[in-house]
């Protein structure tokens, strides 16, 4: 009996060790990815968002985003809508936070006012797309707990469980490319009932400044609604040297005009 008991203990110990190391390894990978992307400062990029419904009908939107990297807290970003015509100039300013809800302001050119929006609606869709806010906001290590799943050649697969109870997901499964600065190749999103909801695939990667990998195509497929959203980026500009002054309410109003 004793032998059996020890054997069980040993197995339990090994598996808990393995679990420990899976969590640690996952966290390490996430940190490595964050590290690899550190120091880009700021960037701007124009993009085209194409929404496609289950019947293949599409609608398009053109946007421009500016991002300011922050290390102490989440990044700041400013998004300007360039088309359709009747929303041209509408802009949002977002301060993501490592913990707690983000701050968001909106500028509407038609009434020429800045509105602050207080919402913890991270799981909601971003302007009708298949991307939720939480998919687009900056990827902070603190937002998830991790579990390393497997290694396939240069690809590392890590499960990430969101810490925020308001997240729309139970987990997401991220595929990193460890040889290419731990860039994301694919993310699978599992909804609250743990069913596969969406898959995001990154392609047309380009290396900027010899260090920063940026995918110029994001394709998000919703498996439950059969809708798709395609993001096509133009060239990134890393030489804009933006500062905090470019991410204020005044800057927001200026950007929209």
């Amino acid at each position: 009996m004793k032998k059996v008991f020890f054997a069980i203990m040993a197995i339990a110990g090994i598996s808990s060790l393995a679990a420990q190391s899976a969590a640690e390894k996952g966290l390490q990978i996430a940190k490595a990815a964050e590290q690899a992307d550190l120091g880009f400062g700021s960037s701007t990029v124009k993009l085209k968002m194409t929404l496609k419904n289950k019947n293949g009908q599409t609608s398009e939107r053109y946007l421009e985003t500016r991002t300011l990297e922050l290390t102490e807290d989440g990044d700041k970003s400013l998004i300007v809508f360039n088309s359709p015509k009747d929303v041209k100039g509408t802009s949002t300013l977002t301060f993501t936070h490592k913990t707690g809800s983000d701050d968001q302001w909106l500028f509407l050119p038609s009434i020429k006012r800045v509105k602050r929006i207080s919402s913890n609606n991270k799981s909601g869709p971003f302007v009708g797309s298949e991307f939720a806010y939480e998919d687009l906001s900056s990827q902070e290590v603190e937002k998830y707990t991790y579990k390393f799943l497997e290694e396939k050649g240069n690809l590392l697969v890590v499960e990430q469980d969101p810490v925020d109870p308001k997240s729309g997901y139970t987990r997401r499964v991220v595929t990193y490319n460890k040889d290419k600065g731990y860039r994301f190749e694919k993310v699978e999103f599992y909804d609250r009932k743990n069913a596969l909801l969406k898959t995001l695939t990154y392609s047309d990667y380009k290396l900027y400044q010899g260090k920063y990998w940026r995918a110029l195509t994001f394709n998000m497929v919703n498996h439950q609604s059969n809708k798709e959203t395609l993001l096509k980026f133009e060239e990134y500009n890393f030489n804009v040297a933006l500062s905090d002054e470019d991410f204020t309410q005044v800057a927001l109003q200026r950007a929209g005009q």
Partner: protein
């Protein structure tokens, strides 16, 4: 007998040869039919389809319009869970916590895409230039009494909640679970969702016994269809027992009962094989096929067996002689009645409701096989089984029996009886026109079905279950932000809200008003649609940015933002009122808005509302064809054109009588009842065939005059007709206990029709036969009649 034998024609000879063949090769025949039925049965499959879409053919224009709407917007099904706390107030901390819990659990529903409750309702409030978007009650356990009071105030003011997820008193609330079924296999997906929901409800009630929970919605509707199919299939068991008892009483012979049972079992097994081979998925109307086949098939066997046993008991035939004689006498009548029944059931294919195509085809196949087994398996089995009877001394009939008396009664006063019958039939026919179509699909289920009682509760206490939807176009891409469009949409919304049958309206103009107000610091004077296109478009973008998980604009707005969906929830009204409402709304749009906005009303409710009319229109042609075909069969079988034509009267009038009585009983008819004309025609024509053929035989072979021939017909087939009518009545009476109105109403009116057919065949038909033969007849006197001995039955 000699006269009859002399007249034995080709068919009689064929029937005799057939019988001799079957008896000689009884074992091979039996084994062959066993292999056939087992072979077919092994291909059998019983799959069910509960999706309400099955009631609509692909070309149904209402379905096309509804599908088109669902293509433009998000297509989803739902489950509504309605919670009624015993204290009559939703807004207490305990109750809100319980609702939050159930909402969280409901997110785990398979295929769910969204759960809406009052607690997770996205409430927007504005203070100056700050907008606050938050769950109406998040983490309710931490709320203070005054906060909860505040939540109650907000909720009861919210047009998106009141009469939809919350009643006006705040005593009943709903959680709406939206599911997106992949639609690959409804037989798997729907039960999966239902099982989860039922389990969730029972766990919730265990934990919170102070809540009453009712559930409804499209998924429970589909489940109810599903379960009523299975329940109606179970009626087969009851019918089986009745068949055994009836056969035992009528034949008073164990082996005959056994043989009958084998024949009907084989017929049903073959039909089940047909279902499997054709890949038919059973629905409530088609799932009654085994009971139908049992009811109709048993008559064939009983006819053959009764004659055989009579020949043995009364006339002292040996078993083999009796069997051959019975086959000879019954082959043609059984063939013709099977043929007419098959024709009757096949006419269901003319209708526009696919489940009835299946019912018609399965039953027609089953009846064909029943004919085959009755003329092969049955005689083979009877030849094998040790049937013994004691020959009884023929009782000398002192008194004329009931049927002879009836014959004499009719023969005395044909003109008067004809007149009375026609007056009664005429009156009932007039009444029959008073029936109105009503296909309220909730009322398809009777009160014993939980779906019905729950849905009734919800209609009475919270919101409507029926709705009508309009996809209102603007005529240009992005045009929904055009202030003129928004104002017109707003007017339409207001008009809808003024209609007495409308419970709730969900229109995009409400969103436009709401966002406008939020953008102006919650100033109520801005609770109106924006009057500038850019403003409207940018508000819409803001609204889009604030939508929660699982919701997007596509629920209400099409992809290129040229059309929006208006949903009017309607209280329980009849189909006619529903159609009228939809027409009124369409007319209002025509009169008050520019052309692109002229939408038509669509919804499952409307589809069902129009189903009866559509079915009646399409069945009309089928019924005429059935009538012509069956009359032709009769003319050929009777070899008499005039009588074939005359047969139309006793064949058509029972249906008129049936619907006349129905007008006094319910006055509302549904889609299931439209098929009864073709179906009962095939069944009741048997009575006419039997009666007329005996009448003709008496005239042709025995040279009787019309009155004598009528009495002869009463004596020879009167009892057989009553017997088969009783079997049929029992069968349809069993079906009329179905909790599903398409089946139970159809069965109930069939009961009336079959009964009416017997009475008409006993009163009107003989009277007419006497009247039309009057001129050619000899002037025989009624008083000279002698009752005839039964010759061939």
């Amino acid at each position: 007998m000699n006269a009859l034998k002399k007249a034995s024609n080709v068919t009689n000879g064929f029937a005799k040869k057939w019988a001799q063949f079957v008896i000689r090769y009884k074992w091979p025949v039996l084994i062959a039919t066993i292999i056939l039925s087992m072979g077919l049965g092994s291909k059998g499959a019983m799959e069910f389809d509960g999706d309400y879409h099955v009631f609509f053919s692909k070309s149904n224009p209402e379905l096309e319009a509804f599908d088109a709407l669902q293509e433009k917007y998000t297509k989803d099904d739902n489950i509504v869970l309605v919670l009624s706390p015993s204290n009559g107030n939703i807004f207490t901390k305990e109750n809100l916590v319980a609702i939050e819990e159930l909402t969280a659990e409901a997110w785990n529903t398979p295929y769910s895409s969204r759960v809406d409750a009052i607690t997770n309702f996205q409430h927007t409030s504005a203070q100056g230039d700050d907008l606050y978007v938050d769950d109406l009650s998040y983490e309710s356990s931490l709320k203070t009494t005054s906060e909860i009071e505040e939540i109650k105030k907000k909720a009861l003011k919210e047009p998106l909640l009141v009469n939809r997820l919350l009643n006006e008193k705040g005593s009943v609330t709903a959680i709406n679970v939206t599911v997106r079924l992949p639609g690959e296999d409804s037989a798997k997906e729907i039960p999966e969702v239902t099982a989860f929901i039922r389990n969730t409800i029972s766990e919730f009630q265990e934990k919170h016994p102070n809540f009453q929970v009712h559930s409804s919605g499209l998924v429970p509707l589909n489940t109810a269809f599903f379960e009523s199919s299975m329940r109606d299939l179970m009626l087969t068991m009851i019918m089986m027992i009745i068949v055994i008892i009836t056969t035992l009483i009528l034949t008073r012979n164990f082996f005959s009962t056994l043989a009958t049972l084998v024949v009907v079992m084989f017929s049903i097994m073959s039909a089940v094989g047909f279902v499997g081979i054709m890949g038919i998925k059973l629905t409530p109307p088609s799932s009654v096929f085994p009971t139908m086949i049992l009811t109709l098939a048993v008559a064939d066997s009983i006819h053959i067996l009764i004659t055989m046993l009579q020949k043995m008991r009364k006339d002292g035939y040996t078993k083999k002689e009796a069997l051959i004689e019975s086959m000879r006498l019954n082959f043609m009548p059984v063939f013709i009645t099977s043929l007419t029944t098959v024709i009757g059931f096949l006419t269901m294919n003319f209708g526009d409701v696919p489940p009835f195509w299946d019912l018609g085809n399965i039953t027609a196949f089953g009846m064909t096989m029943a004919f085959l087994y009755s003329t092969t398996t049955l005689p083979a089995l009877m030849a094998i089984l040790p049937v013994k009877t004691k020959q009884k001394e023929e009782k000398v009939q002192e008194k004329l029996d009931w049927y002879t008396n009836l014959g004499l009664f009719v023969a005395k006063q044909p003109a008067r009886l004809t007149l009375i019958s026609l007056v009664v039939i005429g009156g009932l026919t007039f009444l029959a026109t008073k029936n109105q179509f009503n296909d309220e699909f909730i009322n398809y289920f009777d009160e014993t079905v939980q779906f019905r009682s729950d849905t009734d509760y919800i209609s009475e206490n919270l919101t409507g279950i029926y709705n009508v939807e309009f996809s209102v176009g603007s005529g240009e891409s992005g045009g929904i932000n055009n202030p003129e469009y928004l104002q017109n949409l707003n007017d339409f919304e207001d008009w809808l809200n003024e209609q007495p049958e409308v419970v709730h309206v969900n229109a995009f103009s409400e969103v436009a008003r709401r966002v406008n107000r939020s953008m102006h610091g919650d100033d109520e004077t801005y609770y109106r649609v924006p009057n500038n296109r850019e403003e409207a478009a940018q508000y819409l973008l803001l609204y889009e940015l604030s939508l929660p998980f699982g919701l997007d604009l596509n629920n209400q707005i099409n992809v290129d933002k040229s059309e929006t969906r208006v949903t009017a929830t309607i209280e329980n009204v009849s189909s006619a009122e529903m159609i009228d409402f939809s027409k009124r709304a369409e007319l209002w749009l025509k009169n008050n808005t520019p052309e692109p906005m002229h939408a038509i009303g669509v919804s499952p409710t409307l589809m069902f509302s129009k189903l009866g009319f559509r079915q009646a229109d399409s069945m009309f042609k089928g019924n005429i064809i059935a009538l012509i075909l069956i009359s032709l069969v009769l003319m050929l079988a009777l070899r008499n054109f005039k009588l074939g034509l005359l047969s139309i009267i006793p064949n058509v009038t029972p249906v008129l009588v049936g619907f006349g009585f129905w007008a006094m009983y319910k006055a509302q008819i549904n889609t299931g009842m439209v098929i009864v004309f073709g179906m009962t025609l095939g069944i009741i024509v048997d009575d006419t065939v039997h009666f007329m053929s005996k009448f003709l035989r008496a005239k042709r072979e025995l040279n009787y005059n019309a009155k004598q021939a009528v009495i002869y017909a009463f004596e020879t087939v009167g009892k057989a007709l009553v017997t088969t009518t009783i079997v049929l009545l029992t069968g349809f009476a069993v079906l009329s206990t179905s909790s599903f109105a398409l089946n139970s109403y159809m069965a109930r009116i069939t009961v009336i029709i079959i009964l009416a057919a017997l009475i008409i065949d006993f009163i009107l038909l003989p009277s007419l036969l006497i009247l039309i033969s009057k001129k050619s007849d000899s002037k025989a006197k009624v008083t000279t009649f002698q009752p005839q001995v039964q010759l061939d039955k």
